[in-house]
């Protein structure tokens, strides 16, 4: 059974998923950061594959992407690094990235390798639903990987219903019309969007991401969805001085004291 499904079967609320950029701050830090996050009780991890032009990301994650690329990170090296991750980490792991490097690697190869190293799902924000169903869905299904689709406050009800049918694993709710990055709490219209989605009673679980940076925003997100995804705020913290283990534990303690 896919670990994402297993997670949502056993845990319905307050799920915490954390994003990291692979190969950041140093090329060889990827698995170290993953293990520390898993040790601190994070429920799920999104491993970012760096890209030169990350369109859906704000300035902070652009910097992280670029630094990881400068460090020499690429898709095949990442698979090499992840080769033994399942010896120590049991929680669901996802790959997040942009379409071009994945297409360049070959979608079929990519899915095979991802499944082979024990990944559970993939997030590709610039892969539209229609292209996915037309060309690529078969590879994901064949290799038992979940394709996670995003919805935003602008996504129509009709389209959410379509995504609910085509997607699997969970739905990634983008909290506002924005790129990734830290914001100051939720606005009333965001809360009403969260409510609107909750009331749709979708048959896929939902996690809220983008703009979650504090204990308060995490708790609020958990009120309306099954949990939350934190990216930029964690990566910002990783940029500080200190050991990775220390930085991960102080950050997770802030979010979940």
């Amino acid at each position: 059974m896919n670990r994402i499904d297993k997670l949502f079967e056993t845990k319905k609320s307050a799920i915490l998923s954390v994003y990291l950029t692979a190969g950041f701050p140093e090329l060889e830090d990827t698995c170290h950061v993953i293990r520390e996050l898993a040790d601190k009780g994070v429920d799920m991890i999104e491993i970012g594959m760096p890209f030169s032009d990350p369109l859906a990301d704000g300035p902070l994650l652009q910097v992280c992407n670029q630094q990881a690329l400068n460090n020499g990170m690429n898709v095949s090296l990442l698979f090499d690094q992840l080769r033994s991750i399942r010896e120590t980490v049991d929680i669901p792991l996802l790959l997040m990235g942009y379409l071009n490097p994945v297409l360049n690697y070959g979608m079929d190869n990519f899915c095979r390798e991802a499944a082979d190293v024990g990944m559970d799902g993939v997030i590709l924000p610039d892969l539209p639903v229609r292209e996915y169903t037309g060309q690529f869905q078969k590879f994901f299904q064949h290799h038992g990987l979940h394709m996670i689709f995003l919805i935003s406050p602008q996504t129509s009800v009709e389209r959410i219903r379509q995504i609910e049918t085509l997607g699997s694993g969970f739905i990634y709710m983008v909290s506002s019309a924005s790129t990734t990055g830290v914001k100051n709490g939720f606005q009333p219209e965001q809360i009403s969007y969260f409510r609107r989605i909750k009331e749709m009673d979708l048959n896929l679980p939902q996690l809220i991401g983008f703009g979650i940076s504090t204990q308060e925003t995490y708790r609020q997100a958990c009120k309306y969805a099954n949990g939350a995804i934190i990216g930029s705020a964690f990566m910002k913290h990783l940029m500080d001085e200190g050991s990775i283990s220390k930085k991960v534990s102080t950050f997770i303690n802030q979010i979940r004291p």
Binding site: S52, L55, N74, Y98, V102, L127, L150, A177, S178
Partner: protein, 396 residues
């Protein structure tokens, strides 16, 4: 038409709309509405009138007799350089601002490289009283100061982009991010036949006025039904598509697109996408793309800021693959020579981009009586610093 975009937004294998969900509603709105607006009589009248009274169309088709003598064939220049703001870019911005108003948008964003599209966008925003934000890479802000000052005088905010190589690609990334953050009230005026469907088709149709005018002007001046050959430079490829579009289905018209080879297509410093690229995804479109072995986008290089783009409009990738259009590339040096030649033979200082199209004249075989049209896409005022530097070096 055989070379038009299909219902799914593709030209053969190229095109599509590879955009994050956050942009879906905006792009979908444009996709559903653009053809209706373009076909609406009210729009057609407004567009025609502004092109005539504001832009100064039709632009002349000029028989360049000394250039013709030199190359032993009949060379005509389509004088887009005489348009308001000095390049063909204004055709597209006039059209898109009229569309933006019909979509009820109040805020306009644009990317710019050399600054020509930025100035053309700031101009129509001043004309219509709409807020205008132009994204421009820091490198380009520094090397194109006069255009930055023009945009500011026109009332636009110019946002300096510090990410990546700080040129056109990065400015486009930032404009797309702005659009993600302002999905309700903002229209993004893309400056070329690039980006997600329907932009390549929309911009092609708005620029097609160039080719439509060539069609009747060539008949009037030569008695021929169509020119034998049309030549244009290609960065994203909007001036080329404007000139080619009405003739694409007429296989007797030869078409040539000229890319910027920079310092040569066998060097790392080039912007010749079709010569050096592989299929990939950039700015929401599947097209030929300059990328490294890992699928990371490569920063291009050209002396011309307007051709300095690692992708190309998906329609050009298709016209290249099908062989309908021939594509060549010329180096910085060849383009500089061609710019000087036109200046000395015809008294016209062309834009650095346009000079690439002119540089092909000496390299292609055509019949002696053939009628060639070169799309003179812009004037060289913005490039004076580059020209002066190049010719100073030559004299040293």
């Amino acid at each position: 038409m055989q070379y038009d975009v299909n219902q799914d937004g593709y030209y053969g294998d190229f095109g599509g709309a590879f955009i994050p969900e956050m942009l879906y509603a905006n792009v979908e709105e444009l996709r559903l509405r653009y053809m209706g607006i373009l076909k609406d009589d009210g729009f057609k009248n407004d567009f025609k009138q502004l092109l005539r009274d504001y832009v100064g169309r039709p632009t002349p088709l000029f028989h360049a007799s000394r250039l013709s003598d030199k190359y032993g064939r009949q060379v005509f220049l389509k004088r887009e350089d005489l348009s308001h703001t000095g390049a063909h870019k204004i055709n597209n911005t006039v059209g898109q601002i009229l569309i933006a108003k019909r979509l009820g948008k109040r805020r306009i964003i644009a990317e710019t490289g050399a600054g020509q599209h930025g100035v053309a966008t700031a101009t129509v925003c001043a004309l219509m009283g709409l807020e205008c934000i132009v994204y421009m890479g820091d490198t380009d802000v520094k090397r194109q100061q006069p255009n930055v000052l023009k945009m500011k005088m026109l009332g636009a905010s110019v946002v300096t982009v510090e990410s990546g190589n700080k040129t056109l690609k990065d400015a486009t990334n930032e404009a797309i991010r702005d659009w993600i953050n302002h999905p309700e009230d903002t229209h993004y005026i893309i400056g070329s036949v690039v980006g997600p469907h329907p932009y390549p088709d929309l911009v092609t149709r708005l620029q097609a006025v160039i080719g439509e005018e060539i069609s009747w002007q060539i008949r009037e001046q030569t008695g021929k039904d169509v020119p034998d050959c049309i030549i244009a430079c290609v960065g994203g490829g909007s001036n080329a598509m404007g000139a080619f579009y009405p003739f694409l289905d007429n296989e007797s018209v030869r078409m040539i697109g000229v890319e910027a080879a920079g310092k040569g297509i066998d060097t790392d410093e080039t912007a010749a996408t079709l010569a050096c690229g592989r299929p990939g995804i950039i700015h929401g479109s599947k097209t030929m793309l300059m990328q490294d072995d890992d699928g990371q986008i490569i920063e291009p290089y050209s002396i011309s800021a307007g051709l300095d783009y690692p992708g190309i409009g998906p329609v050009h990738s298709y016209l290249h693959i099908t062989g309908r259009v021939e594509y060549y590339s010329v180096t910085d040096e060849q383009a500089l020579e061609a710019a000087l030649e036109l200046t000395r033979l015809e008294g016209i200082i062309p834009a650095m981009e346009t000079a690439h199209a002119l540089a092909i004249l000496g390299k292609i075989e055509t019949g002696p009586d053939d009628v060639l049209v070169v799309n003179l896409s812009g004037r060289g005022d913005k490039d004076m610093e580059t020209y002066i530097k190049a010719f100073e070096n030559e004299q040293d």
